[in-house]
């Protein structure tokens, strides 16, 4: 057999029902059953293939799921465990190549070009080996696409799921794209698909066969990149750097039941501000302005953008502005269900001496928050928080499902606490 031709060998590795699989992998009692995560949010965040087969879809409301699938096992999200397993996914792939782009919590790209010689295996065999190692060491499956670039690799990993391995060599592109609707392509949304349909382009292959000068002239730059990749070229490089600088940081949290109480709602906003500031300080960044958001029960949003006296990452400096914004957008006798805090145009955090403002006071605040961050590192996040966030901390975000925290938070070893646990995923269930 002639070896498949690859000028570049790019992988896209995609978790199969990642969160639900994390749950099924640690507790065999969940294996083969419809499992849904996202209980605390009231909607399905992830569902096992058994649940998908019963018609459960992403973001479906829990009451609807219970009607559709009465035996569904609905679990609160355990993001701590999911994040640990996500890190393990990336670490395992990095055993094979250092060129790994962490694209999402449950997916990554990897460039294995040139590794066929040292591994003495062809690209398909290497891909199989990675896929098998992931299954063995993480206990659940991933679908993988192997292709000459990112756009094709991402299409390939979706081709067959779960546990699919789809190889698209340069010579196999045309048959692969033939019956694929154009909106399945990564980066082509509904609007663009509708635009392309007007030119008679419905399949990915029709788009790939479009004349280049027309693509360049009629469409924007990103679509020309996609067009080139569909034709086998590699134009989108892998982003290998770990994120060390953010352009924006957003904290948006829903709570149940919805509330009319301004003190409670403001405490939720205050907690979001504190959370965003923790992240800003971790990356030593500051925000010059921010958007405050309130979402009502009927999904209306009130939004207010406000600047600060100086770029900051200290909650007390933000809070006075937040209060003013809150008073302007809060409506009495309205049920709210979420608050949000968005920072953007972020800058590196430097203390500029200011002749008019009391920079001594700011320095004191900075010292205080440096200590607070140290305490958090030792005793857990939110060991210290502002009094204005108290009500939000008192009940957790979701009163109705109170008492149903992730099981791991109540299964503690000596020396662990609800705030700090060992950073190793735990196998659970009866019978050990």
């Amino acid at each position: 057999m002639k070896p498949l031709s690859f000028s570049r060998a790019i992988l896209h590795i995609d978790g199969d029902a990642f969160f639900a699989s994390c749950e099924q992998a640690r507790d065999p009692a969940l294996r083969g059953k419809p499992v849904i995560t996202g209980k605390e949010r009231g909607i399905a965040a992830s569902m096992s293939y058994e649940a998908k087969a019963r018609g459960v879809t992403r973001a479906m409301a829990l009451w609807e799921i219970k009607k559709l699938c009465p035996d569904a096992i609905i679990l609160p999200s355990d993001y701590e465990t999911y994040s640990m397993l996500s890190q393990r996914l990336f670490s395992i792939v990095r055993r094979y190549t250092h060129e790994v782009e962490e694209y999402g919590v449950d997916e990554c790209f990897a460039d294995i070009t040139g590794y066929d010689r040292p591994f003495k295996k062809n690209y398909t065999e290497i891909t199989k080996h990675i896929q098998e190692t992931l299954r063995q060491e993480l206990g659940f499956t991933f679908s993988v696409g192997l292709a000459p670039n990112k756009v094709l690799a991402k299409l390939a990993s979706k081709w067959k799921k779960p546990y699919g391995l789809t190889v698209v060599p340069e010579t196999g592109i045309a048959p692969f794209l033939e019956n694929l609707p154009v909106e399945k392509i990564w980066g082509i949304g509904g609007q663009t698909a509708a635009r392309l349909a007007r030119y008679g382009i419905q399949t990915a292959l029709q788009f790939a066969r479009a004349r280049e000068d027309w693509v360049k002239q009629a469409l924007e730059r990103p679509f020309h990149d996609i067009w080139q990749e569909l034709n086998g070229a590699l134009v989108m490089p892998l982003f290998l750097e770990e994120k060390t600088f953010y352009g924006s940081i957003q904290k948006f949290k829903t709570f149940t039941p919805p509330s009319k109480d301004p003190n409670f709602i403001f405490s939720q906003l205050s907690k979001n501000i504190e959370n965003a500031c923790i992240k800003l300080r971790r990356y030593n960044q500051a925000t010059p302005r921010a958007i405050f958001i309130l979402r009502t029960q009927s999904f209306n949003h009130s939004v207010m953008e406000m600047p600060f006296a100086r770029p900051t990452n200290l909650p007390p400096e933000i809070l006075s502005v937040a209060r003013a914004a809150f008073q302007k957008i809060f409506r009495k006798n309205t049920l709210y269900r979420a608050t949000g805090f968005t920072t953007f145009n972020l800058v590196p955090n430097v203390l500029q001496p200011d002749l008019f403002l009391a920079s001594g006071k700011i320095e004191k605040l900075q010292k205080m928050y440096a200590s607070s961050d140290k305490i958090a590192a030792k005793y857990g996040k939110h060991s210290l928080f502002l009094g204005t966030s108290w009500k939000a901390h008192q009940f957790g975000a979701h009163l109705t499902e109170r008492g149903h925290e992730p099981e791991r938070k109540n299964e503690l070893f000596l020396g662990e606490s609800k705030r700090k646990r060992l950073g190793i995923p735990m196998l659970m269930g009866e019978g050990i």
Partner: protein
Amino acid sequence: MTTPKYFSSIARFYRERKRLPSYREMLKLTGFRSTNAVYRLVERFRQADLLTKDAAGKLIPGKRFRELRILGTVEAGWPSPAEEELIDTIGLEDWLIHNREATYMLKVSGDSMIDAGIRPGDMLLVERGRTPKEGDVVIAEVDQQWTLKYFQKRGRQTILVAANKKYSPIIPQDELNIAAVVTAVIRKYHT
């Protein structure tokens, strides 16, 4: 002052004056009241090869005098554990965990391995994807539950044996799923 500190003040004197202090000067450096005490200190340094005497009977730096200074420990005091000496040590976590990405923990709830010293409440570190060997303690999946047993062979047949007479061996009818091999048992008594 401690012995290392006496040595570092002598070493500092040597660095500044390019010679060792006399007994009288050492009296001042150390704060001792009698030359006898200084003599005993010098004898200790001589035994440690930090100081020695030349043909004329005068004190000169010993073999290890320079060595200590090179390590940068003179200022800090006695040969304290220098970084160079710690290169060959490993942390408890690295010692316990062989394959980080494949290691999970679990809490023992039953008494099926009590005679192997594994008690309810103990923490197990287990490795997924490792091929079990005869006599390993393993986590197997039986009837949609984890079970903790010895992995043993009876002829070609694999059996799961408890370390507790109360339980009889499990002889799997069809395919047996060994999820992980136990690599360590941890019991913590105090915080």
